[in-house]
Symmetry: C2
Subunit: 352 residues, 2 copies
């Protein structure tokens, strides 16, 4: 989607990655390189104007190598903070951004002490490489703690206290090298089994006060990291309060609605930011819902028979739990939109 957003602006993308990324290979120039191939990275970096990434699991060392030969946005420092749940939470805390209570877990003793301090239920998470609910275990009892430790104890962990939140929301922000910053309206996210299923944009009943609070929080993160590009921050809303859950230093699934639902998409704005071009208008156009296609794809004729939807397929082979596309639904009215989402899900037999 980044490469596709670039074409109309005469921005051409070249990708580097493993041999299996069919999505990227079909839409733009693609260099296959095994992870850790420093020569390939250097050659790649020298062949482009600026480098970015679409996963926070890129090795920090790779980003640092690239930085010696090309601009890379967001920076290697951003990557270091955001790919480790502990560093991320510590970063939030050090800038007075509220989070769930958390503790670093390097041993079984750490875990017991943390449960004592934070209480149960709590969630034990791997610090790195978790996504879509992977690498997580909910602990409700001593027995759960034993099982979770047995399952995950071999890698660095973090324990996070359960938050009694009303809903999960996220804010997508974008910042250019000159410090110009824009924010999209907060969206409401619905997960199932740890995987994002549905985003509603703007979040229903979004108040200016809540939007302002999220923007202030995101502005702090952007400034403190001297951030360049699109950033997503996932938040828990508890009444008027927002707790930071995690951040993603990249275009984000909860921002896919912006392709049709906002004046400028997150993809175009990410390209604009990393190329130091003027940022685009982030206003929403009416109301939008983004329904993820997970594990399977309905037929094109079935998906294209609605007059209020846009279909995006990623060219990926369906596998259980894999995001293979999304459908954006647009409506001028938030209540009608919700109704349409349920109708469309039912007609396409998509799970909630």
């Amino acid at each position: 989607m980044l490469a596709l957003a670039g074409y109309p602006l005469s921005i051409r993308c070249r990708h580097i990655g493993g041999p299996d990324d069919t999505s990227a290979r079909e839409v733009a120039d693609y260099v296959v390189a095994p992870q850790g191939d420093a020569d390939a990275l250097v050659k790649f970096a020298r062949s482009v104007d600026v480098v970015t990434y679409e996963s926070e699991n890129v090795p920090v060392e790779a980003a640092e190598q690239i930085a010696q030969h090309a601009r890379i946005y967001p920076s290697a420092r951003v990557l270091r903070v955001s790919q480790d749940r502990l560093f991320e939470k510590q970063f939030f805390a050090s800038h007075h951004i509220a989070t769930a209570p958390f503790a670093r877990i390097d041993s079984r003793a750490d875990l017991d002490a943390a449960i004592e301090r934070i209480g149960l239920p709590a969630v034990l998470k791997t610090r790195r490489l978790g996504y879509d609910g992977k690498g997580q275990a909910v602990i409700r009892s001593r027995e759960d703690a034993d099982a979770a430790w047995k399952q995950h104890g071999s890698v660095p962990l973090i324990l996070e206290g359960f938050v009694r939140f009303e809903r999960e929301v996220s804010i997508i922000a974008v910042r250019s090298p000159s410090g110009d910053t824009r924010f999209y309206p907060i969206v409401e996210n619905h997960h199932e089994a740890g995987i994002l299923r549905l985003s509603l944009a703007p979040a229903p009943q979004l108040t200016p006060a809540l939007q302002h609070k999220a923007e202030a929080l995101a502005a702090t993160v952007l400034e403190q990291l001297d951030y360049v590009g699109v950033l997503a921050i996932e938040l828990f809303q508890c009444g008027d309060a927002l707790l930071a859950n995690e951040m993603a230093p990249r275009v984000h699934n909860s921002g896919h609605w912006t392709i049709e639902g906002a004046v400028t998409s997150q993809f175009e704005n990410h390209l604009r930011a990393i190329l130091d071009l003027p940022l685009g208008n982030t206003d929403a156009i009416g109301h939008a819902a983004m329904i993820n296609l997970i594990g399977s794809i309905p037929t094109l004729p079935d998906m294209l028979r609605f007059g209020d939807t846009h279909v995006h397929l990623y060219g990926k082979t369906p596998r259980p739990g894999r995001k293979v596309g999304h459908i954006t639904v647009l409506n001028e009215d938030a209540v009608m939109l919700r109704k349409r989402v349920e109708e469309i899900r039912a007609r396409l037999a998509l799970q909630d």
Copy 2:
């Protein structure tokens, strides 16, 4: 723009053409073949599901060759009618669609007789291969007639009477193999030196009656040609009447506004039609203006500093009179839109 519209639907385009089409080569698979290479055409046709074209100047013979090996939409018959101004006008006339008075000109005597019948001023046009005002000469006097004959007399011609029209408009329609048909709102087109400069969509002061008249006219053309794909018909508006000027059997410059200004773009709808997928919603979203970039391209930072525009560059080298991109301006209010168009043109030093 067709190839880009295909990616999100997992529709992959392969192009065949000459060595100089840099636009198409950068966005999708591209087969270079000299014109008239029948073997290359056959091989190409056998490698795809369906063939279409984006110029009415494709040789009819090529379309017929392809038709023996693959579906081709619109059909070779459509191509034959629409690439010859005389056949086109005769087709309109035979289906009771009003046009300017016209006459077939094969000799100087034909020209004199036609001027006698139609009167002056009139326009002498080559029947084939004219576009953007090329191959045309206005005749206001006997001397003009001599000069026009000297300039164009070596090829088949048509003389067309001058029409005192109020404005030029166009309608974009789309039809699927099953006969399902959709129409975009009429747009108002502004030409300068024979080249489209600006389209306003929907056409200012568009009445339901005028839209209905244009749709009925377009429906006749689509049905009579058993048409599949997007069709553009350029029209002269004279009071309540519409005169057909010409048709283009393809996605059309006056429909580029649909990328952001309509629910479904003409590009996506053309793909849907030729693949026999359900057609998309053709409703306009507010008001849109399409400003062509002709002969030169302002800098990206200059073009991206507006909050209400979308930039589309075609990857073509600028040459005088060459369309190298367009800017779409969106506004909820038609009057404000017009004002913004003038402001943006002035700030980018684009000519009227």
